[in-house]
Symmetry: C2
Subunit: 214 residues, 2 copies
């Protein structure tokens, strides 16, 4: 098992190194990169469809999926430029994949939609400036306690599908307490595609953090 661990650490080191290079190149080009993480069906693409039009300048999306180009098609229909990465079976995106997918054109923002997975993506830097975690009220309020790393590493946390709160058991105080044990700084912003709530606040936070303004 020691050899396995060593090889894994090597992979992680190489990934981190390339992530640093990707990040530096993006920064020099004035592109702000967001690593979008969340479980399957958390609403990652829908959130991007609603946030991107509120941001100043053009955005580009790198869409990560095991298989299919469903999300890239949705973005294209909305007039948002995007490229699809299909990992085959891999459970997260890594820096070599992103280094190849970064556009040569200049954009204000690159959003990298990671594989739907609350575990593995949090372990791998991919050149991003911030990590944006999307979780839903339908997943239950115990998620920070069960999947701590994603919550610990997030710079902004979007609590999605709050329109379903009347129909599910979700204890927002328990959820918030769990997040705050891991992460004191990330804002927790409630979102709903039904009411449109939260997209303005989330966009404003990203615009401020990127230094680009609204």
């Amino acid at each position: 098992m020691e050899r396995t661990v060593e090889v894994m650490e090597n992979i992680l080191d190489k990934n981190e190194q390339l992530a640093g290079e990707v990040n530096k190149s993006l920064t020099e080009r004035g592109i702000f990169a967001v690593n979008v993480m969340g479980a399957p069906g958390a609403g990652k693409t829908t959130t991007l469809l609603n946030i991107i039009p509120k941001l100043k300048g053009q955005s580009f999306v790198i869409e990560g999926d095991i298989q299919s180009d469903i999300d890239t098609q949705k973005l294209a229909e909305a007039g948002i430029k995007a490229v699809q990465i299909n990992t085959g079976g891999a459970c997260h995106l890594d820096s070599p994949l992103i280094a190849e997918a970064i556009p040569t054109e200049d954009f204000g923002y690159v959003f990298i939609e990671n594989i739907g997975n609350l575990v593995c993506p949090a372990e791998f830097m991919i050149g991003e400036h911030i990590k944006m975690l999307i979780v839903t009220v339908t997943e239950g309020s115990d998620k920070p306690y069960k999947y701590p790393l994603a919550f610990e590493k997030a710079d902004i946390i979007l609590l999605n599908k709050v329109d379903l709160l009347p129909y599910v058991d979700f204890d927002i105080d328990y959820f918030t307490a769990g997040v705050r044990k891991l992460n004191v700084n990330a804002p927790i912003i409630q979102l709903s595609k039904v009411t449109g709530d939260g997209y303005g606040e989330a966009s404003a936070w990203i615009a401020k953090r990127s230094g680009k303004g609204l």
Copy 2:
């Protein structure tokens, strides 16, 4: 990268070999093992809480989580014997973990609740007789297209939280067509903890498949 792939194949081979041994031992002891897979918040524990009391004989649960013993506590409160495995960071259970967690007492069933993850658990045999996949209508109907392996390998598919169907976009025909492209045999049973629908049908299917009857 070739060395990495080789090491990974070695790990998979060793895992499969031990899975076969675990499975053989369970079979000889008359214990039927179910690998329970699903994304975070799919309702894996709630489903076990509702299915287990309908089955003949005693059940034992092996609870897999990155961190926390929330689900083991829930099971204990309901009088169901369970043991917690915390993987620390690992995104799936594997055979060595299960080989150690299998009880020495005899039970009719062992349910192994895997890490909440629609990707990695599907790749690893852990000694189970069947894989039970739980997905929810809140995750969206495109999941079989995006995460094919879990659907392909499932022996039974439970579509959970159908009480929320009036409030979400979920195209059941599109979902079913996606599943059937990958898997023609697994029953797709609709579940709801609100109405109690589906637990009887799911228990009956498991009882029949295990040969134990109801």
